[in-house]
Subunit: 370 residues, 4 copies
C-alpha cells in the first residue's frame, strides 16, 4: 500500500515537491523489450510543460527528463530493436526543477489559501512544505505524463495492436463545445486542446478576460480510448469504471468523473440506455455507446469514453477570507505565477492516466490475472 | 491484489453469485473490542433487501446473515462490553440464497442482454454463470451492506466520535428534488429514500408507469457524511476523492460520481468556487462547501458530499437487438423479476461504501499510515 | 493489505477460529475453466485431518468441505469439461467445526501457555478467543490445504504441464533420515510422511515414548517441486526464495526455512556451491542443485527444494512456570487433545503453501507481470 | 503489487542497476516530523560501502547520498526540530554510480555464470543488463541501507522509545564464533562485524587464503533487535517471522533464515523449547528465548533474534563449466572486482531489513492496522 503509487502490475510511484530539487517517478512492472528513449518522453512533457502560452503558468521549466534505470542497449539489442529497450527492471525517470523562484513565502506559510490543500495538509501532517504548494502542486503531474508515455508503449506491445488515446477540453467555464463540430485534428491548433475551433476562439477571449481580472475558470475534459479489445477490467471492485474514476479523481482539481452517458444516463429510459448489438465484419457491433465502452466493469471493445470536471484554479488575485495557522481570521490574496484554467494542463495528464490504467489491465488480462 | 476486495486496512473480500447457495464477505483489519451482533447487521440488510415494495425486485430473500468468525464473548467480555465483540480476527459473514427460482435459462445462456455484463464476461472469461447474472448481479451488494454496518461501528470507535452517514435519492429519471424541501427525516417515509416528499409522490406515479410499461428509470444518489474530522485521506493517488470515486463506481449500474459542486464546479469562477474560511467556536468554519468536504484529497472537517449517477436497469420487457454467443443476430426480451429503478436499492449500498472508505482512512489516520 | 490473505494474483483469504462454527477460505484470482469438485479437495483434507493416528490430535473433525461460489456447470460445460469448472469469480470454501469439545476454559483464559500465542495476542488485541487457541490454532491450516488443491490445478493449467509437488518429514527430534534410503513411495506407508522406512520405525517408538510422557517433538519438513519451468519468481523483494520463506514461516510452529543447501551453504567454498551447467537433450542441465532450483530469486528449471524447521508442540503435560493475565506468577499444565509432533500435520500444509506460491508466480509469469 | 517494493505502510521502492548512472529508493509512508539529514544516511552507507578493506570488492564508490524530496526546513521547523524534517511526502534518495569500470563484457554477455542470476534473468525477461550483474547486483542493497536509516528513526518516533538493532557475523565458512566470547563492542574492531575477537583473527587468515586462491566463503549473519515492545506483528500470513524471513531472503545470496532456536528447535523437547514466564519489575520476564522474541507471529517483548545463511560469492577465479546463451557448452572464469565473502557487506543490509520490518509493523500497530 502506497498512496504515492498507482496501478497494480504496471505500477508507478511518484515523488517530489514543487520547489524541491527535482521530481520523478519509478515505473515498476513494465515488460522487457520495449524500445524507450528519453526523447520520446520529452515530446510528451513538452506538451504539458508550463510557460507555453499566456493561458498557463509563466513558470519556466524545461522539464528535461532523464532515464536513470531500467533500459539497456548493447550491439545485439541495437541491432534487434534499433535502440535501448526496457529490461523489466524498474524505470526511474527524473526531472529537475530549475525555476523555483526564490521569494518570500511568509504569506502562505501562515495563512491557508481557500480551495487549496494548505489547511488539510496541516491537519493531516502537522506541518507542510508550502513552497509552491509542495507535494500538492500540479507539478507532480509531470511525472504522470512521463510515465504515461511508457504506459502507452507497453500497452501497444502487450495487446500487439494500437490503442489510440486522445484527450481534449469539451467545456470551459459554462461554455460547451458544439458536438457537431467535434474534430480531433483541431486540438493541436489552439492552446486549449479544444476539438471545436469556434469554441476555442470564444474561450480565448473568455479566459483572457478572466486572467486579466485575476480570476480563473473551470473545465470539462474528455478522454477517449479507441481500439481497446473486449475483456479488459474486472468485475466488482476492480471495475474498469472504478479504476478510471480513481485515476481521474487523483488529478489535481478534479471534482467529478463520468463514463459514457454518465450523469445523463439517469434521465434515460432503459430502452434508450442499453446499447443494442449487431454483427459487423464478423464482430459484435454496438448501435450506440451509452455505456462508454464498459459493461459490468469490463471493456466491450467500443471506444472507452469518459469526462472529468476540473474546478477553477484556486489561486486568484481577489482577496479572500481565511484564517491563519494559529486560528486568526484574516484575508489572503494569492500572488505568484498560476494557470488561469488548470484544466488546460490537465488534458495531457488525463490522457496519461488513461494509458496507465489500460496498460495495467492489459497486463492483467494477458496473465488472466484478475 | 484482489479485485473482489476493497479497502487497504479495513478490507473486505466478497464472494458469491446470484443463484449460488450463498454469498458472503470476509472483513479483515477490523479493530478488536467492537460490540457486534448479527441482529444489527440484519437491520441494515432488511432495508436493502428485495421484495419490500413494488418498486424493487419481487425476489423473496430473507437475507438472514450469520457471523461465522471474528467475534467472541465470555463472561468477562459480556460484563465489560454487554455482548460479543470483535477480536481483530477476520469476520466472516454469510447470507444464504433461498429464492433462486429454478427456471429455464436458455435465453440468457445463449444471448447477450444489452446493457448487461453478459458479453464482456464471456470476452474476459470464456464462460460465465449466467443464472440471475451470476457474479455481476447486484445481489453481491448485500455483502457490502453487511460489511458497511461493521465499518460504521469501527469508524465510531476509531474516531471516538460519531460520524453520521446518510444517503438518499435526489433525482429519478430527469426529475430532481427541490433542494429547498430537502429533509433527511423524509427518507424513510417513501420507498425511494427521497428527502423531498413532493418529489417522492411524483416519482411514485412515474416509476409505476415505467414498471407497467416494462421499462426502467435511472437515478442520482447523494451521500453525505457529517462529523468527519479534518485530516483523513491522502495526497496524490490515495486522495479521498479518488477512493470514494472508486468505491461508488464499483456499485452496479453507476456511471458517474461527483464530489461537492462536482460537474457544476467547471462553470464557477475561482472566486465562487473556493470556500472561504472563518473561525467559529474555536474551529475553522467554511462559509460554503463547494469542495464537498475534501481539499487536496484530505478531509477538511466539513460534510463530505458526493453524488452518484445510476443508469436505468438494463433488464426491460421491450425486445432489443442483440447477438448470440455464436455471433448470430437476434432479439432478446428480458424476463424474470427485476428492479424498475435499481437506484433505489443502490442507496444503502452507497451508504455502506462511504462507511467502508471512511473506516479504512480513519484507521490509516490513527496510525499515521499514509 | 490483509494479514489473513496470501498471494498476489492467486490470492487466498482465510477466516475462522478453532472453536467457532466454521472456518473457510476465499480464493480470488483463480483462472476460469478449471474443473473443480469438492471431492478432490476432500481427498487432500482427509490426509491432513485430525484423528487419523495416535500421533495426531484425537479431535474428531470430518473436515467436510463445501464449495459455495466460483464454480459452475451446465450442459455445455459438462460436455466440454466433464463437470463443474471455475468461472474466474472468487471461490468460497467452507468447513464446519463439529468437535469443539465443550469444556472448562478457565485455565487458559486466565493463564498464558508458554510457547503459545496467548500472551502476545493479548498484548496486541487486548482480548482473545482462547477456545482451542482461537485464530492462532493450526486448525486454520485446513483452509490452506483446501486452497492448495485449487492452486495445484491452476498451476497445471497455467503452465500447461505437470509440476509435481511433494513434501515429507526428513527429521524428527534430532533423528534425521538416511538420504541414501530416500524413497518418495514410502511416505504414504507410515504416519509421518517419512521417505525412509527405517527412520519411520525409529520415530514411531520415539514419538510414542514422548506422547506417553506428555512431551512433544519437533521436526524438519522437506518440500520438493519438480517440473517448474525456468523464469518464475522476481528479482529483489519478490524473490521466489523470499516468497517461499514467507509462505513457510507463516505455518504454525515454523522457526526456520532454507532453500537448497541452505545453512550448509555457509560452509561451502564458492567452487562447491555454484552449480555448474551443461546441456542435456537440448536444455540446460545443472550438475548439482546447491541452489535449490532458484538463482537470483528466479526458478532455474531444477527441482525447487526447501526445508522447514517445526518446533515441538507447546502443549505438554508437564507443569510449566507462567503468569496470569493479571501478572501473577503461577504454573500451567496443558490439558486437552494435542499433536505430540505438530510437524506431521505440517507436511500437507507445507505442500499446499508451495502450490500457492507457484500458482501465483505462474500466473504472474504468464502475464509477464512482475 | 511491486516486486521492487518492500513493506506495507512504511514502504520502499528501489531502482537502479550496478553500472547504470545511479541507484535510489523512494520511501513512502514515513511519518512527518522526523529530523533527517543526508549526513546521517551517509554514515550508515560508509559502513557498507565497497573498498573499505581487502575483504570486500575493490570497486571505489563514494556512495554519496542525496535527499531529493520529502524533507523540509524553514525557520520555524529549524527552531522546533533543529534541522530539516520529514513531511509525510515520499522521500527520494539517490546515489550516483561513479566507478562503473568501462570494460569488455563479452564474456558474461554470452555465458551464464554458475551461481549467478544470468541464466534465470534471460529465462524470465529474454534479455538482461549484464554489466556488473545489472539489477541482480548487490549494489541495490546500498538503497536498502539508506532506507534503513530512515526506518530506524521512524521506529524510534513511532514507539517513542529506543529499539536497538544490531547485526554481526557469527560464522564464516564452517568456523563459528564462541558464544561465550560474544561481545557486541567487538564488531567494529574487525572487518567482519565479528563479535568474537579470536574468531575474527582466524577468519582473517582463512579469508585471505580464500581470496588469494580466487575462491570465496559463505557466512552466517545474526541480527538482534532489543527493546521491541510486545504486540508487533500479525497472526497467520503476516506473522512477524514470515515478514522477517521474506525480508532476509530477499538479500542477495541468502539461502536460509531462522528465528530463535531455529533449526535446532526441531531437536528440542516441548519442555525445553517453550520459554517459561515469570514477572520482573512488574513486567513479564521470559526465562529463556528459544522463540527468538516472537510467539504466534507477534513480538513478545523479548529480543528478536534471527540468523541468516549467506552462500559463498559465486564469482570465483577457477574456471567453471557452463553454457552460452545459445546453448553451447563452455567454461567461464569470473574476472573483475568481487567480495571474497559477500556475507560481510550483508551485515548492514540485514540490519537495515530488520529496521524496515519493525518500522512498518510499529506503524501498523499504532493504527491497530493489522
Amino acid at each position: 500500500m502506497s498512496f504515492n503509487s498507482f496501478g497494480h502490475i504496471f505500477r508507478i510511484t511518484t515523488w517530489g515537491e514543487s520547489h524541491g530539487p527535482a521530481l520523478g517517478v519509478v515505473i515498476d512492472g513494465c515488460p522487457p523489450g520495449i524500445p524507450l528513449e528519453a526523447a520520446e518522453i520529452q515530446t510528451a512533457l513538452d506538451k504539458r510543460k508550463p510557460g507555453t502560452s499566456k493561458f498557463v503558468t509563466q513558470r519556466k521549466e524545461p522539464d528535461m527528463v532523464k532515464i536513470l534505470s531500467g533500459v539497456f542497449e548493447d550491439d545485439r539489442i541495437k541491432k534487434e530493436f534499433g535502440g535501448p529497450v526496457t529490461t523489466g527492471a524498474p524505470i526511474s525517470l527524473e526531472i529537475e526543477n530549475v525555476d523555483q523562484r526564490s521569494k518570500d513565502y511568509t504569506d502562505i506559510r501562515d495563512k491557508y489559501r481557500p480551495g487549496h490543500a494548505d489547511y488539510t495538509y496541516d491537519a493531516k501532517y502537522g506541518l507542510r512544505d508550502y513552497r509552491g504548494g509542495g507535494r500538492s502542486s500540479a507539478r507532480e503531474t509531470a511525472a504522470r505524463v512521463a510515465a504515461g508515455v511508457v504506459a502507452e508503449k507497453a500497452l501497444a506491445q502487450v495487446l500487439d495492436s494500437t490503442v489510440t488515446i486522445r484527450a481534449c477540453m469539451v467545456q470551459m467555464g459554462a461554455d460547451k463545445i458544439d458536438r457537431a463540430a467535434f474534430d480531433w485534428s483541431e486540438i493541436e491548433n489552439n492552446p486549449f486542446w479544444c476539438p471545436d475551433s469556434a469554441a476555442a476562439k470564444r474561450w480565448e477571449s473568455q479566459l483572457d478576460a478572466a486572467r486579466k481580472a485575476g480570476s480563473s475558470m473551470g473545465a470539462v475534459i474528455e478522454v477517449v480510448a479507441s481500439g481497446v479489445p473486449a475483456g479488459l477490467g474486472a468485475p466488482v471492485y476492480g471495475k474498469l469504471d472504478a479504476e478510471l474514476a480513481s485515476a481521474m479523481m487523483s488529478i489535481n482539481a478534479a471534482k467529478g468523473v463520468e463514463i459514457g452517458a454518465g450523469f445523463e444516463a439517469a434521465a434515460l429510459s432503459g430502452e434508450n440506455n442499453a446499447d443494442e448489438i449487431r454483427m459487423q465484419n464478423g464482430k459484435p457491433h454496438f448501435l450506440s455507446n451509452k455505456a462508454g465502452g464498459i459493461l459490468g466493469g469490463i471493456s466491450s471493445g467500443q471506444d472507452i469514453v469518459l469526462r472529468l470536471a476540473i474546478k477553477p484554479t484556486s489561486s486568484i488575485l481577489t482577496p479572500r477570507k481565511t484564517i491563519t495557522r494559529d486560528g486568526q481570521e484574516t484575508d489572503i490574496q494569492t500572488k505568484g505565477r498560476h494557470d488561469p484554467c488548470v484544466g488546460i494542463r490537465g488534458v495531457p495528464v488525463a490522457n496519461a492516466m488513461m494509458a496507465l490504467v489500460l496498460a495495467d489491465h492489459a497486463l492483467l488480462h494477458r496473465g488472466q490475472c484478475g
